[in-house]
Symmetry: C2
Subunit: 652 residues, 2 copies
């Protein structure tokens, strides 16, 4: 699951003015209707910062300012007298703990709802503003539609007011090295990738002359470069304009390693020569380029409205995602092998952690924070590790109901045998990025915990073993991960999965199960992560990463059928599984998954001389029994009547 990078939406407003955070053992949330209002110690006083922002708004004649979500979760709007935050159910409790009473919490993320709120909060004739370089084209258009004909005007404000309100407390830009990936860790050379994209340009009916890359993963992937500008994400600030004859890369050139620089300039002069330009030059360069007889191909899902509006309409080729994004989404054979291998080593770290927890939690020495530190350390010890792929989520008991809760030192709950524990963690390795969630219990779960866990697992299994036609949209099959919960009136309020990269983002677009994801194709990787959250009590999530592969079906068909190969290789908690709820097919699937874990992770554990972990793995992957009802094929000999005849014979 995605780490809370999105905190941009309110962290940009809250950061730097947080009150000292006392340990908060309670699920302590604000109560703004109390007299006086009650604020938990985790809340942030935003009065001064909001006043500064409103001052800036007034000087610009603006009546509302929209602050973007960084990762599609959580948008804030500040008007002259109101402030509101929109976020999905994963963050509701967290928001109630961190917001002060200046803020309304809106329990939805739909732009339609934001638009309606703005219509109520901003009088007709008002100006609604945002930074066009922080909003995608699609998002801009959605706001534009929401305000259309209402008398409110949507205006781009090219200075970022939050940055201004932040002032000199703003952190300096990164100055660390931007480096080339060694060839063994790339799917193909950057020259081959560029040639492939140019081929797609030639084959496109609209004959685009250029592709504009504004996603940080796009330039990192295309040029086989990495950096560390964003925590946990090995990317660097950059843009690129790839034309049919030239390549312009916009970045802080001084940060390039010698090898990286050499690699980029190897083909100079010529069509495979990368012209290095300063990051800030991209707008001017694009403006000049767009004066020619050109067609620029870009992805409207993430290209900023600011860049987009530089290019005249008739020179645009707009698709949801650029060809770099869609090509990157389908991993080639080597990329697949690398991601599989990274997951084997990652499983070793997670298994070490599970065994360590079994041994230490009982002694009462582990809390959420030290647990997270421990698993991070275990990952760092694995080969090719570059540390965690997001801030580790380590949540005990009721804290796990906050789906994105991350502990901090000093306010962290002790792990205990009496509570369920959820950890959602991942690693960056040179060969691949991982993301896995397990939920465990070290003594006796309640019946509801066991039922809910089993149904979450059933959802994970049902989606993982689904056979479906090639090019099926993820959103049309994600309900298979929910049905076992729905059956008894349970559900979860977040998405079911997201793509993942090769030493890139742990949340890689455009693959996944949401409405704006692309159809599933063989070679894509996605997480599968149903959950169940009971506010104030416990939280469950079971997350695996799976590769989309071709399925062998009983009947031949003109259509290609696909299914998933789960590449996360860590067994589930047997104590939490109610076998009687599982169908024979689900049990068979589970047993064959466990067999594969043994085959793939067992040898790696032995190679690393982790004999105790090896024994733990063997015990944890024992095949589950198919009950008598399950082993009898339907229609097989009916034993009950026969038995009664035999028994009556014996009695006679």
């Amino acid at each position: 699951m995605r780490p809370p990078l999105w905190i941009a939406a309110w962290a940009l407003l809250l950061h730097g003015c947080a009150a000292g955070r006392a340990p908060s053992p309670r699920n302590d949330i604000r109560n703004c209707t109390a007299d006086p209002p009650y604020l938990p110690p985790t809340a942030t006083n935003t009065t001064a910062r909001l006043a500064a922002l409103r001052g800036l708004l007034r000087t610009r004649g603006a009546h509302a300012y929209i602050v973007p979500p960084r990762t599609r979760n959580g948008t804030a709007v500040v008007t002259e007298d109101k402030a509101a935050l929109w976020t999905d159910s994963r963050y509701w409790t967290q928001a109630e703990r961190e917001l002060d009473c200046n803020w309304e919490l809106q329990r939805t993320t739909s732009i339609e709802s934001i638009g309606m709120w703005i219509l109520e909060a901003v009088p007709a004739g008002g100006n609604v503003t945002l930074d066009p370089f922080l909003f995608s084209i699609d998002t801009w258009n959605s706001y534009s539609r929401a305000l259309h004909g209402s008398g409110r005007t949507l205006l781009p404000l090219e200075t970022n007011l939050v940055d201004q309100a932040w002032g000199d407390q703003r952190p300096p830009p990164s100055s660390s090295e931007i480096y080339s990936l060694p060839a063994e860790f790339t799917g193909s050379s950057w020259q081959e990738k560029v040639a492939g994209i140019r081929q797609q340009m030639e084959q496109h009916l609209r004959r685009p002359t250029a592709v504009l890359l504004s996603g940080l993963e796009e330039t990192a992937w295309l040029f086989n470069l990495r950096g560390d500008d964003i925590p946990y994400n090995p990317v660097f600030y950059s843009y690129a304009l790839l034309t049919n004859t030239t390549i312009s890369l916009f970045l802080d050139e001084s940060r390039l390693s010698l090898a990286a620089r050499r690699s980029l300039l190897l083909g100079c002069p010529g069509p495979l020569c990368v012209e290095l330009q300063q990051y800030g030059q991209v707008s001017a360069h694009l403006r000049r380029y767009a004066q020619g007889n050109v067609t620029v191909w870009l992805g409207t899902e993430y290209t900023t409205y600011g860049l987009y509006s530089i290019i005249p309409q008739e020179k645009l080729l707009e698709e949801n995602y650029s060809p770099v994004m869609t090509t990157k989404a389908v991993k080639n054979a080597h990329e697949q092998e690398m991601l599989r291998a990274a997951h084997v080593r990652d499983a070793v770290a997670v298994i070490q952690y599970l065994l360590w927890l079994e041994k230490t939690v009982l002694q009462g020495q582990v809390d959420e924070f030290s647990g997270a530190q421990h698993i991070d350390a275990l990952r760092w010890a694995q080969e090719h590790s570059h540390g965690p792929s997001f801030q580790s989520i380590s949540a005990s008991g009721l804290n796990a109901a906050l789906a994105h809760y991350s502990p901090s030192n000093g306010s962290s709950r002790s792990l205990s045998v009496g509570e369920m524990y959820l950890f959602d963690t991942g690693g960056q390795y040179l060969d691949g990025t991982t993301d896995i969630t397990r939920t465990v219990h070290w003594s006796e779960p309640t019946p509801l915990q066991k039922e809910a866990y089993t149904r979450v697992l059933m959802g994970n299994i049902d989606l993982s073993r689904l056979v479906f036609p090639s090019h099926t949209a993820g959103r049309t099959v994600e309900s298979f991960a929910r049905r076992a919960l729905w059956d008894v009136g349970l559900n979860y309020g977040h998405g079911t999965g997201h793509g993942i990269g090769n030493f890139l983002s742990v949340h890689e677009w455009p693959v996944g199960f949401q409405s704006n994801n692309v159809p599933l194709e063989a070679g894509m990787f996605t997480s599968i992560e149903p959950g169940y959250y009971r506010d104030g009590e416990f939280g469950i999530r079971i997350e695996d990463v799976a590769l989309v592969v071709e399925a062998q079906t009983e009947h031949e068909s003109e259509e290609t059928f696909l299914t998933f190969e789960v590449v996360s290789l860590v067994p589930y908690d047997r104590k939490l599984i109610d076998l009687s709820l599982l169908s024979p097919e689900q049990i068979r699937y589970l047993n064959s998954y466990y067999e594969r874990i043994r085959e793939l992770v067992g040898p790696e554990l032995r190679r690393q001389r982790l004999e105790e972990e090896y024994a733990w793995l063997q015990a944890s992957t024992e095949p589950f029994p198919l009950s008598s009802a399950h082993t009898l094929a339907p229609g097989a000999l009916a034993l009950a009547p026969l038995l009664s005849v035999l028994l009556s014979g014996l009695g006679a």
Copy 2:
């Protein structure tokens, strides 16, 4: 399933110039690569008509003309030297039988594909034209996007070229009566409906001053009026503009019955007075109205681009569907009762037909056409009947692989005990519209037929018994109807269901399982109709109509959960069900459905003194046995080992 009204797309071009159709026992399709090309007798020579259309194109400086689908299936495009038809898999074989070699068949319906074809077929600088009064706003926008920036211009042509090419062979407009529904057959009075819509206008943040109704079902439903301008659909050509103070209804006033006229004028003068205006006046009236300080609410999915473009952008409130469409979609208690009752009588007719087939097919006297005539007659005999709700689909053997095949007199295949038979039929009753498909076999199905039928049934059951949260979008759950087929590499190429009206359209928007349908709510009716088609061999479809109802779930939840109550009440063919494929839950569901059929249809059969049909129903709804494997609860006594102990004891 929808009747082939959509033939508009090519029928408008083909109709009137069809060659004499000889009986065609073979699955006889065109072969345009043969030398000379082979055309089946069912093909139509379109050379002259295309030449006429191209002449009209040239005089208007147009390079392509897009001919619309009437019901979202099948679009044709004619250019100076090409003609192509886009349609979904249901119609591929039919198209290959009816098109001549002037036509390319494109096996998709995506506008993107049509757009790409146009880009290849029409040179840059060319004009692509269509009649804006035949295309919805959304469709217009899709074409506009597809051609955007390509140098081709999308132009509205307000005269319909196909009508012109048709000339005086065009049928005259209807002159039959437009009448009021008796109060017992309406959900509420038209005045109550108008008040409800006006309330929604007041409560909408944008405060629309008017709603524009351009769907024929909208005016029919709102004013409780019916007509017969469209075969099988009791609607009449009309528009309405409902403002907060006035009501304008545009239609051929002279056709109104006295009672209908009286009902509409009852509230005159006043806000519930209907001003009657001539049909052709709508554009002029709308243009005048739009000059004021107004906001017009309309549905972009179906309002024509022609009307839409009359209203200035800033005076539009655009949503996918008007409030009349969305209100009509949720049936109130009385409407639900009426639809249930219509389905009970409809089941009687279908059961009579099934029994009649069992008795007469063996004698070799029934063919597809006479079968269709017979079931139509049986429906007509039921109370409140207004005949079939679409042209009956009656297809034997390989003809059933053409999902929308309708037989014609003289070219109709005999029904035989050696083949499967599919009939997809429905009735119009004053209280409700019905639509049901059953597939039967009167002797020994092949193993594949039996497996495919069972898997189609499993899909029907799995979707029908699904429990899901309120406001779930149909498209996110329709895969449950496909999974049993996908599992073994089978699938079907059409949608899974559509809404249905109270004595209105058999295919009523906006309910259903497609991407442009609205989320499911309690009170909606939809068909559930998975199928499987084996080209040249056989076709299977099992279609029921179901009401969305609240579900009782084991755990309480803040969310409302929904499920379906199937209101079609006709048993499936037992001979075609392979019980060993069904899960215990599926068998239990089937048995409780059959119990409900007995409860609801049994008494009606007796009331109609259909004793033989009653006996047939009892036999056909016998509960299915849960095999021994199914009756044993998982975890119950393991009999096999016990048995072996007993047996070895006996042997000793």
